[in-house]
Assembly symmetry: C2
Homo-oligomer: 409 residues x 2
């Protein structure tokens, strides 16, 4: 029996024990834990009967698609833009993204275009890809490099193909790799509409702008300001929400764009809504107050989730480190750790873990059409399980990675 | 000076005094008053820290597009259908309607259709018409008769024109006429998909099902049950919300359809949302509890708004009654009084009232494309102003009606 065979046998016994144990653990979606949600319980009841804004608006009544001024100011602080560049939506920035793309597709069609493609830095966020599929927008994979997407490739593509109408970006603590785009990359992205065909749209999903895992924050350049310098600001939409600040299912969302673009989007939205929930917007203003309030609140999240990220990274290092079994990211913020197996093994690892009761995000989910060309990427979401569950789940996971890798040697 | 000339001179003096007075009154949108909204102030804070449902769901977290079971049950009670036929949305049933039509248009297009028409009982609700315009659906006016839309005309139209794909109905206390469809009409509507081309959709906006102005309620037959008998249930969508029960801008909405149709709609919605605000759904369950709770709550609304309707009707009767100047409805529920001037005068009355500081819904707004062919219909919304404001506004209004009518004699 070779050394590898012996280790394989050992791992197999361990794996069988996990299967026997009948675990039921979940490392899939980036959901906050109940402990994190508890941090925002004060929201319900915070208004204490006061519903009238300074401008006289009764937040309980109909109207106001762009949101209440106080919440627009909060969003402006969060995104580092001016208040008149921000609108406030309902409980989902995904909904705002979906409709912004729908609105743009309609404009492009009206201008005579019929074929649409989007650039998708990979690995990326599956729900961005679903939006493209929903509107028959063809997706083109672009590799994420150390400082952001491969801009040489992107610039070449947009200058050659007029059907390319946009790009999805998660520019800070990216989902799932955790990286933050460099200033150089952001400057080149701001200039993209100049090289592209008419109406190129930058979808800037800044979902994790304040979601630091360390005592510091990574610096993300202000895309809207850079784009304004280059004359491309009308082609930028910045998205964010409080879903991972306050309540995942009952927060508020933000969209930043030029006032002219917001006006056009407001008109588009007016066929489907009289206005988003302004009562919940006011709750959030009272609860978070301003950027200092947001930062102080995020420290409480960090205290809860940092040990979870540390545990995952320690497990990976202890069991897979220095063995040429996998590579993974060490994010300074965000919600995920991204792991790459040896080529061709991701789906097998996910299946093995699933059989042992540990649910992982389906292999391929981080790629357009669910197709990871090398079948290597696995997204680990450490926030939702308890430390104890995470400890168990990671033991199963690292066993699966090693077993799958050695089994194919 | 003839008697008419003398009266005209008198009215003109009166009107000039109103203009002088610089009033600023609004009889436009059907908005609840602050006093009505106060009835639901208990909503904020009602959860007292309890967010976990019987099935273990944490309402604060992501997920659950069809809504929490408890809220689906509440919607089922409200609409008189089974719980598995109801989904719960966000703060706007308009949003659900818009997306249901979008979803159907997509299906029709996929099946090869390219031209779409909807039947619109008139006068009707402008936001239904806006949805049609948004999707390039041509609208066909159908007169509302005493017991509902003109079914002879409708049946003839749908059997002759395959492009007719649907109908908008506000079947109880209709906006703006206040009438409730008879059993005979509802039965014929339930059978419409049998006579129409594939995929004919009944959009049943039951917005005012519990909005009685008298101690009794008008009986509306159960469309979903009637359609089930005829095999057309998959072509029914029933809409409702708590916008005019709890908070106009921060309520919850309901869509009832067959479970199969709900499943298809859930899939459609999944590209744009992870789920609606479940915290607010739970608030509503705690606050309204059940049908008895809803009914008891609606009595409080009635106590506030009935005197306003009575005042409007008294002003109309006192100043315009028996003079062959206008006709109007006396609704037993809902949010509006519908008035018809002599042909061709509605826009003039609205303009005159506007110049005297009384804002009315634009003439034509109750018709598709904003075009009232006879230019007669004016929608009066009595709920939002105070009794004092309403008193003043109606004095202006009746003066304008009489002045416009006599001026053209």
């Amino acid at each position: 029996m070779s050394k590898t065979e012996a280790r394989l046998a050992e791992l197999q016994i361990q794996y069988d024990q996990f299967v026997e144990a009948g675990l039921k653990l979940d490392l899939t979606r980036g959901k906050p834990s109940a402990e994190q949600l508890d941090l925002s319980n004060e929201l319900d009841g915070i208004l204490k009967g006061f519903y009238i804004l300074q401008d006289g608006t009764d937040v309980r009544n109909y109207g106001g698609i762009l949101g209440i001024p106080e919440a627009r100011k909060l969003g402006a602080d969060l995104l580092g833009v001016s208040t008149d560049s921000v609108m406030v939506g309902g409980n989902s920035s995904l909904t705002l993204m979906y409709h912004y793309v729908a609105h743009k597709v309609r404009q492009w069609r009206a201008a005579g275009a019929s074929e649409f493609k989007f650039l998708c830095p990979v690995p990326g966020y599956d729900r961005h890809f679903t939006i493209c599929e929903d509107f028959d927008i063809e997706m083109i994979n672009v590799p994420l490099l150390a400082d952001g997407p491969d801009m040489d490739m992107i610039e070449k593509l947009v200058s050659e193909d007029a059907a390319i109408k946009g790009i999805w970006c998660v520019p800070k603590y990216a989902n799932p790799t955790g990286q933050t785009y460099s200033r150089g990359v952001v400057e080149r992205i701001a200039a993209l509409p100049l090289a592209a065909a008419d109406g190129f749209q930058i979808m800037w999903d800044n979902a994790y702008s304040v979601h630091d895992l360390e005592g510091t924050t990574e610096d993300l350049p202000d895309l809207l300001a850079l784009a304004a310098e280059k004359g491309t600001a009308d082609q930028v939409a910045i998205l964010a929400s409080t879903s991972k600040i306050t309540l995942a299912g009952a927060g508020i969302s933000f969209l930043a764009a030029t006032p002219a673009q917001l006006k056009a989007f407001e008109k588009y939205l007016s066929a489907q809504t009289i206005g988003f929930d302004k009562v919940n917007q006011l709750r959030h203003v009272h609860f978070l107050e301003d950027m200092d309030g947001i930062k102080a609140h995020m420290v409480k999240h960090r205290d809860i989730i940092k040990p979870k990220f540390d545990l995952v990274l320690k497990k990976l290092q202890d069991h897979l480190g220095g063995k040429d079994l996998a590579t993974w990211t060490t994010p300074a913020g965000g919600y995920f750790i991204s792991l790459d197996t040896k080529p061709g093994l991701a789906s097998e690892v996910v299946a093995m873990a699933g059989a042992a009761g540990v649910k992982l995000t389906p292999a391929g989910a981080t790629y357009p059409y669910g197709k990871d060309p090398d079948n290597t990427n696995i997204r680990i979401a450490p926030t939702y399980p308890s430390i104890e569950e995470l400890d168990q789940a990671m033991d199963v996971f690292v066993t699966c990675v090693e077993l799958a890798t050695l089994g194919t040697v």
